[in-house]
């Protein structure tokens, strides 16, 4: 009888909290806003629970020796929303209005709907100069009319209680 109770408890826990955890990631080499070729990492997590809807994100876009941008699911798509403290349009000096679409992932509806393959990244803004509190160079992947192509690789693991998979390490800055 005790064994049946244990089995029931394990099944119950698995049904309530079991899930498949994913990570999607790719690193490309692209010019940054200072004109230097840099490694650029794009990655995000996704979880598919046994019960309930999938969830995912946000996506991190990390430029070697530069900034980290966060793209998240919004009604308008998967975008990085610019802010007046850090973004401007190329060639301009004025900051963008808060919430301006400064980067977009194309080729997917929402992060949770993605299941591997190609993703295009359109970048529209460049960084404003930092201030005395900036500890990283205010550079990032350069804005371009041609989108950057990421061939996203998938890592997956099933887990009873759920757990975030280890993410790819940020590109190393050797400067």
């Amino acid at each position: 009888m005790a064994n049946w109770k244990r089995l029931f408890a394990v099944v119950l826990v698995a049904v309530l909290s079991g899930c498949t955890n994913f990570i999607y990631h790719d690193t490309i080499v692209a010019p940054d806003t200072a004109g230097v070729d840099r490694k650029v990492l794009l990655w995000w997590p996704k979880t598919e629970p046994l019960i309930g809807a999938a969830k995912a994100g946000p996506a991190s876009l990390i430029t070697e020796c530069g900034e980290t941008l966060t793209l998240d699911d919004q009604p308008a798509g998967v975008i990085y929303r610019g802010s007046p403290d850090r973004d401007r349009l190329p060639g301009g000096t004025a900051p963008v209005a808060d919430g301006t679409e400064c980067a977009r992932l194309q080729g997917l509806g929402a992060l949770k709907e993605f299941s591997g393959g190609e993703v295009l990244l359109q970048v529209r803004c460049e960084p404003l100069p930092g201030d005395e509190f900036s500890a990283v160079s205010h550079t990032r992947i350069r804005p371009s009319e041609q989108p950057y192509r990421f061939d996203m690789r998938e890592e997956r693991k099933w887990s009873l209680l759920g757990s975030a998979l280890p993410p790819p390490a940020p590109p190393e800055c050797k400067e």
């Binding site: 899930c19 808060d98 509190f133 900036s134 993410p167």
Partner: protein
Amino acid sequence: MSVNPKKPRKVLVVHGVQTGSDAGLNQHKQIRELINNRLGSVPLKFQTEMYRYENINDRAQRRYKQLVSLLVKTPVGKVVAATAFDLIADVVTSVLDTSTAAKIRAGLRAQILDIYQRGNPCYLVAHSLGTIYAFDVVNELMREEGLFERDSRRTWPVQGLVTLGSPIGLAMFRKGRTRVSKLGEGNKWFRWVNYWDRTDPVVSGSIFGKQLTGYQIAEKYQTDDPKQGWVIRDRAVDTGRVWLMAHTAYWDNPSVGDGLVDMITN
């Protein structure tokens, strides 16, 4: 007074609803490890420290706990009742804005100002119920003369706010928190990033962890007023876990880590 951007950054961590005592609360160590893991090779000097207030709660609740203990007969029942009471009473203390809540805010404010006097730039990371106290104290400090002069970040006792699994979107916590304090005119912006998991019941108020489908919690505080001076972002984060386990999974979440690194390096 002012802070020196060259000094090590302090990440002040505020816990949420807890059982036990202050001695067992060391989430700042998890945050330190998380930042180190996502910082990569960026040469940033930073330190983390805790603001603990569970003992303040426990002292205020001691008599009621003894009463609960008398009402329950079995040893297991006593433990369960004491734990449940501990958690619920922490929430009630905050919602009713009792004198204990005022003491908790005063303690947090004192710790922030202590860091300020030492000249370290301070970044606040708060979890769960702690986000309510952090929100209140930051807004209170913003209203004080001489602090938070908008165009001089050196006068800011807090450089940025990160909230994790915050219940601030729930109606019971909105009372008295309908807007944020204005920074005034200027070009600098105070950043508040609110991380939440869609299945976190403390965020949604759904005890069964029903998924929230919206996009805005903290961003409801954002206005078009140029004098507001806040950049507020909600970030729905996949913690890899569901329901109550999602609520406790922010501390080592790498997406939160990337966002934290972004905040404290800027």
